[in-house]
Homo-oligomer: 389 residues x 2
C-alpha cells in the first residue's frame, strides 16, 4: 500500500462495500481500509475502543473521543500499513467504496471570513460605500444554516424555487441566479460545555478535521429575503461537503501566517501567527477551471471562528460544522463564487465548450478540489454536485 | 383522574420518576402517565407500536409516526383513563415527574411573523422610515437559530458575553441588554422529502404539536453583529421551550381568523381563513405580569411558515422547531419583549417590588404561560427560566 503521501492515513469517512451496511473507513492512497472490519477482527484491540465505534452511519462517535484517541488510531493504522498487517478482507480499492455523509451534522454555521470576498460583495451590492460591514474587522461575522440539508459530494442538487423580485413584482419560481461558493469546513469532534467559551488556542482540541464545502446559493432568493434576518432560503436548500474528512493535524502541517489583523480584534480573539492554512482550491464547472481560491487569504482563523461562536456561552456539539464562507483571494483568478467571477452576473465567464455562464445552468456539474501546499501533491478532498432542473 | 379539560390527554413530554431513565409521558390533569410502563405492560398492545417507542430520551420516534398513530394513541389513552384502566404503576402525580427536553431538536428556525412586533422594532431601530422590511408582507421572514442550545423550561440561563459597542469602541463583556421573547413553537413530527415543498394545507400532516418558547435575546450583541448576516450570537446562547408538547389537533380547536393578508401573498402561500390560534400568553418577571400577548394577531400561519420553509426544496426532519418570533398585539399591554415594552430601554417597566427594569437583571425569573381561548381555562403550557450572572 503506497500512499504517495507523507501520512499513510489521509482521511476518514463512511463507506459501504457491495451493499454492506455503512461503516467507518480510512483512506490510504488508492485503498480504503474498513475500520469496522479491523476492529471486529481485533487489529485495533490494543486501543481499547468501544466495539461498535466504527459500525455506525457516522464518524460522530469516533470524533467525540478527542485528540489522544485520534492520534492513537492513526498511529496504529500507520503501523498496520507499514508492516503489511492490514488483513485482506479489510482492504478495498478506493473505487469500490460507496461513500456517504461522514457526519451526523449537529449545527451548521457559515462565516464570512475572507476579506476579499466580503469586500467584493460589498462593492457589487453597495457601490460607493465602505465595502466591508462595520463589525467585519472586529469579530468574525456568521450565521446558522440548515443542518438538515447538508449532503455528501456527488449528491445532485435540485435548482431551488423561491420568491424573487421581477419587473412585475415578486414572483415564485425557479431561481435564475444559482451560484456556488468555495469554502473550507471545520468539523467539530469534541463538544464543549454550555456557558464556557473555548479559547482560540484550545480550538484544536475540539476540531476533528476539515471538509471541502460548496455552499450553493440562490442570489435572487437571497436578495429578496435577507433584510434584516440574513441568509435563509437562498442557502438552505443544499450544502455539499466532501466525503472524506482530513484530520486537522494533517492540515496543521501546512500552517502559514495569513493576513495581518488590526488592533480592532478584541483580546479574547487575539491569535498569534501562523493562523492560516496553505490550502489551494480549484473550482471547475463541467471540467473548465474557473478559479483557484486559496485559504491562506482567510482573515479569520479556525481557532477564532470556534472561539467567537462559543464566546457567548453556546456549547459545541459533536458534528457541528463551521464553514469559512467563500474563500476568495486578491486576484480575479482566485475568487470563489460566480457572484464575484461574473461581477453580479454582468460579465459572464466562458467554458471550454464555448458556452458562457452568468449563473449555473441545469446540468452543470460543479467540482471543487483542494490540495495542501503549493506543489499541490497532497489531496485535501473534493466536492462535486450536478444541478438538476 | 379528572382532568378538568375537554381532552383527557393534554400534552406529551419526557419525564423520569425517582431516578428512573427518561421515558415518554402524557399529561392528564394533575397526573402524569408513564407511556413506557403502559407499553411494556401491554396496555397499548392493540396499537402495534414498536416496543421501545416510549423508552427513549425524546419523543422523536413517536412524533415521526404521523397523525393516524398520534390519534390512535390519544384515543387509546383516553379510553384507558375513562374506563379507569390506567395501572397504578403507570400513574404519577404531576409534581413527581422530572421533565427534560422532549425533542431531539433537528433544525431550529425562528420567524418574524407578528406585524405589531416587526413594526415596533422598525420604529425603534429605524425611526422615520417604513417600519416593516420590504419583503415582510410577501413572505414570512425567518432565519436558522442554534439547535444545540435549545433547553427545557426551568433550565437557568447564563447572561451571555459578547462584543458590544461602547463609548470607547467595541468591547467584549457581559450583555447589558438581555431580553426575552414570547413565542409559539411548532414541532415537526413527520419529515418531508428534500426537493418537495409542503403545501400550506398539508402542514398539519407534519406538525406534531406546539411548545411555548422564550427566545432569549441580547440586544446589544445583536445590534453589533447583525449586518448583513442577521441574528447570530445575540440569540444562540439559549432558547427555552416548555416541557410539554400540546398536540396540534388540540390547538386546532381554537382556530380563529387572524389578520387580513393582502394580495402581496404569492399563490403558493395563499391560505384560507381561519389561520390563527386563539392562544393567550402571560409574560411575567419575578411574578409581576408585564403583558398578555395573543397569538391571534400573528400575520403568518403555521401552515405558511412550514410551506415557506420548504418552498425552496429543503426537507423537514423530525424534531425541527419553527418558532413564530415575538408575539405582539396592537396594544402595549400585549407586546412580547422588553425591547418593545421599554421602547428600546428608554421607558423602564416597574415590578411589584418597586424595582424597575429596562432589561433583565441577574436573578430575574422570566415566566411565560399560555392558555387557549378567552376563558383561559385550557393550559397550553409554560416556560420559565432564571437569569444567572
Amino acid at each position: 500500500l503506497n500512499t504517495g503521501s507523507p501520512r499513510p492515513i489521509e482521511a476518514y469517512g463512511i463507506g459501504s462495500f457491495e451493499g454492506s451496511p455503512p461503516r467507518g473507513v480510512a483512506k490510504s492512497g488508492a485503498g480504503v481500509i474498513d475500520l469496522n472490519a479491523l476492529q471486529s477482527g481485533g487489529a485495533l484491540r490494543s486501543l481499547g475502543l468501544p466495539e461498535s465505534l466504527f459500525a455506525g452511519k457516522s464518524l460522530n462517535g469516533f470524533m467525540s473521543l478527542g485528540r489522544d484517541t485520534w492520534f492513537a488510531v492513526e498511529e496504529r493504522l500507520t503501523e498496520l500499513i507499514e508492516t503489511g498487517q492490514v488483513p485482506e478482507e479489510a482492504l478495498h480499492p478506493l473505487g469500490s467504496a460507496r461513500l456517504s455523509l461522514p457526519v451526523e451534522v449537529a449545527d451548521f454555521c457559515d462565516f464570512y471570513a475572507s476579506e476579499h470576498h466580503a469586500s467584493n460583495i460589498g462593492r457589487i451590492l453597495r457601490p460607493g460605500t465602505d465595502p466591508l460591514p462595520a463589525a467585519w474587522r472586529t469579530i468574525p461575522l456568521g450565521y446558522h444554516g440548515r443542518a438538515g440539508t447538508v449532503v455528501v459530494s456527488g449528491t445532485p442538487v435540485r435548482r431551488p424555487m423561491g420568491v424573487v423580485m421581477t419587473a412585475d413584482g415578486p414572483r415564485y419560481g425557479p431561481s435564475g441566479r444559482l451560484d456556488l461558493e468555495v469554502e473550507l469546513g471545520y468539523v467539530v469532534g469534541v463538544p464543549s460545555n454550555n456557558g464556557q467559551a473555548v479559547r482560540v488556542e484550545d480550538a484544536r482540541e475540539h476540531i476533528f478535521g476539515v471538509v471541502v464545502v460548496n455552499d450553493w446559493s440562490a442570489r435572487d432568493i437571497q436578495a429578496f429575503e435577507y433584510q434584516p434576518l440574513g441568509p435563509f432560503l437562498g442557502k438552505s436548500f443544499a450544502t455539499s461537503v466532501s466525503a472524506w474528512i482530513v484530520p486537522l493535524s494533517a492540515i496543521e502541517l501546512w500552517a502559514v501566517d495569513g493576513p495581518e489583523q488590526g488592533d480592532e480584534v478584541p483580546p479574547h480573539l487575539a491569535c498569534a501567527q501562523p493562523r492560516a492554512f496553505d490550502v489551494n482550491f480549484e473550482l471547475s464547472i463541467n471540467s473548465t477551471v474557473l478559479s483557484r481560491p486559496a485559504a491562506r487569504y482567510l482573515h479569520w482563523s479556525a481557532g477564532q471562528l470556534v472561539s467567537h461562536l462559543t464566546s457567548n456561552g453556546a456549547g459545541l456539539r459533536t458534528g457541528d460544522i463551521l464553514a469559512t464562507g467563500t474563500v476568495s483571494g486578491p486576484e480575479e483568478s482566485s475568487w470563489g463564487c460566480l457572484m464575484e467571477l461574473t461581477w453580479g452576473g454582468e460579465r459572464p465567464v466562458s467554458l471550454s465548450d464555448g458556452s458562457r455562464r452568468s449563473w449555473l445552468e441545469d446540468g452543470d456539474t460543479v467540482t471543487i478540489t483542494a490540495t495542501c501546499g503549493s506543489g499541490g501533491t497532497v489531496t485535501l478532498g473534493d466536492v462535486a454536485g450536478k444541478v438538476l432542473g
